[in-house]
Symmetry: C2
Amino acid sequence: MQYVSKYEQMPVTKVNDTYERRWVKTDKLMLVNAEFTDGPCDKPDPFHSHPHEQVSYMADGEVYLFVADEEKVHLKSGDKFAIPPNVPHTIQRLTSFVRIIDCFTPVREDFL
Amino acid sequence: MQYVSKYEQMPVTKVNDTYERRWVKTDKLMLVNAEFTDGPCDKPDPFHSHPHEQVSYMADGEVYLFVADEEKVHLKSGDKFAIPPNVPHTIQRLTSFVRIIDCFTPVREDFL
């Protein structure tokens, strides 16, 4: 097994022109480096949800996080959040570059 | 449920004078912000292992990562690694400040 993934050598999934994903995983656990370059955005993305549990770390940039019907929260580097299964959430990017580290269990098969 | 954990407001576990942990979790998933201020170190910590799956993100600083009997790897900000259950691993901190984001499934009950 390859334990280490150096940033420069990781396969990149270009979801679109301004959204890239790089990931590592074990059997039931996935860490996704999500990078966005479309900010600042004047509105949030549409809400989404998934049956996977999610915990996330704001690595770079700033966003508004929206979860369910809670008030939006301003997040910056160092902040974290936790999303239980099937709870709707989304972000609005406030800076030109945003990197979020998203971890999921089980693995997001739709990201492979 | 509290979805968001702002860095400044998170409870801190001071493991020792130079090692702090802050964490968020869902049911089966835990994200740990581990910060070390004892580097640079002239040798690695002792190897350790756990039955939990682990994926990690190097947020700040540089380390050598040692996994099982593999050659050590130099990691810097942006690099990732994945540790299956019960595989021995450790780090040697190379910079004065090191922050690693460690994710585990199941939750590390020993960190609560």
